[in-house]
Subunit: 153 residues, 2 copies
DNA sequence: GTAGGTGCAAAGATTTTGCAGTGCT
DNA sequence: AGCACTGCAAAATCTTTGCACCTAC
């Protein structure tokens, strides 16, 4: 039973990394949360193992990203959000009103992506694509996105 | 000649803000640079007026954004990039290889945006839309985007 | 047993804020 | 002349790094 590693563990092994409970918790957090910032992931992990440190979360995410288990996207502000890789590729929709994150299947953007490829030779990293805007609910509530004032486009 | 304000000045006046050389420089920097981070904007401004402080740049950008002269988008990492508002609305293309920023007219994404509107009731803030990927040059050079390794999609 | 991994604390980087002096209106 | 704006410096965030101890293999 020496090498009875779970599939996610395999990925670590394959890259010469060790399997540790901290890394497992971090990966589970990402999987469970769907989308999470380092802070949110830490909170989740600490609910199982209070001693885990923020820097460990950062380092674990770095490793998990390198071995291809998770990715991150930059949504609003400066908050990087991590999510699992192996589920269906999707585009992130960030609501400027409620900060909520929605996802849509990548195919919806296919035409656009093809156009970029054709016209610019630009190869899109679909999973990192971020779309800012206002969700249905916030539009109905008449929110304008940013608190300040006029926000053209 | 009391109120001989330039068009950009008008916008400030209209919102009760004063016209100052610092704000003018910051706005010129944004216009001239096309895309710029606060740091880059500071550098540009200081080339004209060395005494200007970083915090002044931040405050000026905040004001200029409020009156609708500039906007910002979050491109790679945590670097907010500011650009002029009144030119044609465009989508940002960020190359993961060379960090360069390209723009494409918003119409290219129209189909996608319409689909989001139709299916999700999501109103897209086109100017803030960010697309990560690899530009033609970096693809040719065989870059993979992130230095680390595998990067799916 | 050994090298990689973790926790802790300090260092960095980036953005924000308080305050007194300055300059736009 | 009044009050918003600026410069400076300190505070607040968020992320990274150095080091001694611990643990997976």
């Amino acid at each position: 039973m020496a090498t009875a590693a779970a599939p996610w563990g395999e990925a670590l092994r394959a890259h010469g990394y060790r399997i540790t409970p901290q890394r497992q918790f971090v990966f589970e957090a990402v999987t469970d949360l769907g989308h999470g910032t380092p802070e949110e992931i830490l909170a989740w992990v600490q609910s199982r193992s209070p001693g885990v440190n923020l820097s460990t979360v950062y380092r674990a995410l770095e490793v998990l990203e390198e071995v291809g288990l998770v990715t991150h996207a930059h949504l609003g502000h400066g908050a990087p959000t991590y999510h699992e890789v192996d589920d269906e590729v999707h585009v992130h929709l960030v609501c400027a009103g409620c900060q909520e994150i929605d996802s849509v299947p990548a195919q919806m953007a296919q035409g656009f992506i093809d156009a970029l490829e054709r016209d610019r030779g630009f190869s899109t990293d679909i999973g990192h694509m971020t779309v800012q805007g206002l969700c249905r609910r916030c539009r109905a509530a008449g929110k304008s996105g940013r608190p300040r004032g006029v926000d053209r486009t």
